[in-house]
């Protein structure tokens, strides 16, 4: 037969050692030599049952706590802490161990090991940790037996079986731990979304704008990117993605920019943002229109300020500097014929309307103004349903009063501008965004995809024009905002997802270290008034302890003499005989069972008073107390 307690003790020694060994080199003299000595003492004492009992261990722990507490300073945080941990571990080993105390040993050993990782970064840490986990798992299983009955003994075979099963649990769990804690949260894609990518016509940024192919557009609420930024006004929230410069057949596509064109955003107040795109298949880097500068990733820039990368599936983050609403200056001019091309067979009604504008307006600016007035006068409606399709959707939209969405507005305006001899192109991106005040960032979803126009005005440069803004119902575009509670909940959920991405998914060691460094320097810079030394902080600690003692005494005094005596008696019985006396059995039975003359005498005297419905007098109390004291002093 093997006693559970002896196995638990051996495991506890192992666990304590695993907490101590990684720290040996960094410990002060006292704990360094105290621990092995105490461990030896504990091994012997546990076998002979001469382990420390009572309040002595607590007092020793407190003394060491004060001793190391004095050494504790802002420049010396870890040292005293690990020393204290090791000393506490030693004290725990040397004192009596109930199931609670075993748990304390495990926790202290884990903390000590964790502390060692602050002092060195050795790969051996992983070995220690795994060993510790296995030992603790086995111990916890055994502890459940121990907790039930401290004297349990199990046959050798049975014990082997228990230990094997207990040890196999953490080993079996290891692959799962790897999967859940290392691989899963660090994958760059949500796994399920990769496996079934949504297909079908939906809103979103594409490098082809072809109005009139579908009578309605589905709105998708997937997040495209989050932008850490100051709050901006709505008319600044144009997120630039791609420029479409050629009309081919019925659709706008992107062709390489010809000539020596080179664009620079005009002057203005810069707004910086950090952008966290959700991983997707788009290769355009989005930024607040008009981006001046973009850092943080490797990318290519086209002359019309379109940034592209090769999609790698990795999560990105990049910083941008933008000048909202700026005019794009082109230092070397543009290829006018390229931006005036119109494909043959385009709606004659639109082309003639454009030509009319060219005659009525003398300059590019005039023509743009005329077109704006024309659009406004037409009282166009913005919609994503009931769209014109068929042979000439743009003319149907502008001239026949059909509703349209941004692609209709932008395409129509661009075509008219080109017909009126003003160079024009389409810019695709996103418009608007939900500002999350909790996290201080914008969330931009797919259905916010937008297309607008850039017109080249002689002497100015590329000017941003959003013809959709001329629709009679443009103010409501972007969908009705959810109000109140649901919106707040969604905001909190989204912030959680944002910070998760920021700290876990995009985790990198250097950033963590830089945060740690910053915290550390911050702590160093923290200064107390010079006359307040840390030693003075001991005064409240001492006061607190004194208050605790006083409180304890008060509670003790409040309890009746009878209760006090019984508490002492039962504690004594538990210590000496290991008997937890059940509440349904009386004292006389206890005396009969234990057959100890002093207890019998105590019970007789006590019962004589109590079961005569009397209270103990002071004299009787003292006599009974002394009987108990005699019993405690008596050899076992």
């Amino acid at each position: 037969m093997v006693r559970i307690k002896s196995v638990l003790d051996i495991l506890a020694y192992g666990i304590a050692l695993l907490g101590f060994v990684p720290l040996v080199a960094y410990l002060d003299m006292i704990p360094r030599f105290l621990f092995p000595a105490v461990l030896l003492f504990a091994v012997v004492a546990d076998r002979r049952d001469t382990i420390l009992r009572g309040h002595l261990p607590t007092v020793i722990s407190l003394l060491f706590f004060v001793y190391f507490g004095i050494q504790f300073s802002r420049d010396n945080l870890v040292g005293p802490a690990v020393n204290l941990l090791v000393v506490l571990l030693a004290v725990r080993l040397a004192s009596e161990k109930g199931s609670r105390h075993y748990l304390q040993i495990y926790a202290l050993a884990l903390f000590a090991l964790a502390g060692s990782s602050l002092l060195n970064l050795s790969a051996a840490f992983l070995v220690y940790l795994l060993l510790l986990l296995v030992l603790i798992a086995v111990s916890l299983v055994l502890l459940t037996f121990y907790d039930r009955d401290g004297d349990t003994a199990i046959a050798r075979d049975g014990m082997m079986k228990v230990v094997t099963v207990a040890a196999s649990m953490p080993l079996a769990a290891m692959p799962l731990i790897l999967l859940f804690f290392v691989i899963l949260p660090r994958t760059q894609f949500p796994l399920w979304n990769v496996l079934n990518v949504a297909s079908g016509a939906a809103t979103g940024l594409s490098d082809k704008v072809q109005p009139g192919t579908a009578p309605a557009v589905a709105e998708v609420k997937n997040v495209v990117f989050r932008a850490d930024s100051q709050p901006l006004t709505k008319n600044q929230l144009y997120w630039r993605g791609v420029v479409l410069n050629t009309l081919e057949g019925g659709s706008w596509v992107r062709k390489p920019v010809p000539g020596a064109e080179w664009s620079v955003p005009g002057a203005g107040r810069g707004v910086s943002q950090t952008i966290f795109p959700e991983p997707g298949k788009s290769r355009y880097l989005l930024a607040l229109n008009v981006p001046r500068d973009l850092t943080g990733v490797r990318f290519a820039t086209a002359p019309d300020i379109v940034h592209t990368i090769i999609p790698s599936g990795r999560r990105l983050r990049y910083e941008t500097q933008s000048v909202p609403g700026a005019v794009i200056r082109t230092s070397r001019g543009i290829d006018r014929t390229f931006y005036l091309q119109l494909p043959p067979g385009l709606s004659p009604r639109l082309v003639s309307l454009g030509r009319q504008m060219a005659q009525r307006g003398k300059t590019d600016t005039d023509r743009l103004a005329l077109l704006e007035r024309y659009f406004v006068d037409r009282k166009l409606r913005y919609a994503t349903k009931d769209l014109p399709t068929g042979s000439d959707p743009l003319a149907q939209f502008l001239l026949d009063g059909k509703p349209g969405h941004c692609e209709f507005f932008a395409s129509t305006l661009a075509v008219l501008l080109r017909a009126a001899d003003v160079p024009a192109r389409l810019v695709g991106g996103y418009y608007g965004g939900d500002y999350n005040a909790v996290g201080g960032y914008y969330v931009v979803t797919e259905e916010r995809a937008h297309v607008w126009v850039e017109a080249y005005l002689d002497g100015k440069g590329w000017v941003t024009v959003d013809p959709s803004a001329w629709a009679v119902n443009f103010a409501g575009v972007g969908g009705a905002e959810e109000q109140g509670f649901t919106r707040r909940v969604r905001m909190y959920l989204d912030s959680f997802s944002y910070f998760w991405n920021l700290t876990v998914i995009n985790y990198d060691l250097e950033r963590q270290i830089s945060i740690l460094n910053r915290a550390n320097t911050g702590l160093r810079r923290l200064s107390f008034p010079s006359h307040l030394s840390l030693r003075l902080l001991l005064i409240p600690v001492v006061l607190l302890l004194a208050a605790l003692v006083v409180w304890r005494v008060c509670v003790w005094q409040k309890v009746g003499r009878e209760e006090r005596l019984l508490k002492i008696l039962f504690t004594l019985v538990r210590r000496r005989y290991g008997v937890e006396w059940p509440p349904d059995k009386g004292l006389h039975e206890l005396a009969r069972t234990l057959d100890e003359p002093r207890i019998t005498r105590f019970v007789q005297m006590y019962g004589d008073v109590v079961y005569h419905d009397r209270k103990l007098s002071r004299d009787e109390y003292i006599r009974l107390r002394s009987l108990l004291a005699e019993l405690r002093a008596a050899p076992h």
């Binding site: 209760e563 009386g586 004292l587 019962g607 109590v610 079961y611 005569h612």
Partner: protein, 313 residues
């Protein structure tokens, strides 16, 4: 501690349990408790375990008169109480006393008697007097009925209803003696003859004095009363039980606990006294729910006792 007559009673107990009725310590003790409280005892066990021997030995050692009633289904109440017979010489009816007028009455196989006879006997037990033909006769003092019944044989019996079981202070079994003891009993043979020659150790007066002492000198504290009350209420609220211990049952527990304290030489009752007598005094008063008839009432009551904390302060 000077409880009157305690030494004598203890000698009786030691003599009986030590030399004549080996292995029946518990039954002897409970019989004495019943005697000291003025109650009656029901021995419930199979035949041949010494129920009659116990009753005989008790009667002899106490120096009390002994009467025996062997119950059958045609036993009449007058067979117990006695009847008037016409005396021709005096030309008057003369009352011939039945066995119930003895101090110790052994009623063997009480469940074989007709209900009519049973109830006559139980009434006599309770009232301690008998009325025959308009004349009331007081019964002997001390008066102890030791009734026996066989729990296994059911054919042709009239089991005592619970309400009548309530009249017995104590119900207990005797049980088989331990192995060694039984072997020696087997080899020695019946001790009926020896018992006839037991010298009385106490007198009726001693017993009455002891009874007085139990009643007046043993202190029952409020705490222990509360404890008894807690036990009684717990049986009344137990889910398996239709009805629990009656108030009379509670009184009997208190009395028996007093007697137990007296035997222990204490002039106050401690909860252990209550615990020791509760099962013997209380269990036959419990009535189980119809679907729980098979539950062992003694074990049930022990379990209930285990769930009630003892008053220590």
């Amino acid at each position: 501690m000077n409880l009157p007559k305690r030494a004598e009673i203890l000698t009786v107990m030691d003599t009986l349990a030590g030399s004549h009725l080996k292995g029946k310590d518990k039954a002897v003790r409970l019989s004495l408790i019943a005697l000291l409280t003025g109650g009656h005892i029901l021995l419930e066990d199979i035949p041949g375990l010494g129920k009659t021997t116990l009753a005989l030995a008790l009667a002899n050692v106490l120096g009390l008169s002994f009467g025996r009633i062997q119950c059958t289904s045609d036993l009449l109440p007058s067979d117990i109480t006695g009847l008037s017979v016409f005396n021709r010489e005096e030309s008057a009816f003369k009352f011939i006393r039945g066995p119930i007028f003895n101090s110790i009455v052994l009623v063997d196989e009480v469940n074989r008697a007709m209900p009519k006879t049973q109830s006559a006997m139980l009434e006599a037990m309770e009232e301690r007097r008998v009325t025959v033909e308009g004349v009331t006769y007081p019964l002997a003092e001390p008066f102890l009925v030791i009734a026996t019944q066989n729990p296994l044989e059911q054919v042709g019996t009239y089991p005592l209803p619970e309400s009548q079981l309530d009249r017995f202070t104590i119900r207990t079994g005797i049980g088989y003696p331990p192995e060694e003891l039984e072997k020696s009993i087997i080899s020695y043979g019946s001790i009926r003859d020896d018992i006839r020659h037991i010298e009385p150790l106490v007198s009726a007066g001693d017993i009455l004095a002891a009874r007085q002492a139990v009643k007046e000198q043993v202190y029952l504290s409020d705490k222990v009363t509360d404890y008894i009350y807690a036990i009684v209420t717990a049986t009344r609220n137990h889910p398996l039980l239709l009805s629990g211990i009656s108030t009379r049952g509670g009184i009997n527990i208190a009395e028996a606990a007093r007697a137990n304290a007296y035997l222990e030489g204490r002039e106050y009752v401690v909860p252990e006294d209550v615990r020791e007598v509760s099962v013997a005094v209380g269990s036959h008063r419990l009535i189980c729910r119809p679907e729980q008839e098979s539950v062992n009432k003694e074990e049930l009551l022990s379990a209930i006792l285990g769930s009630i904390p003892v008053p220590l302060v």
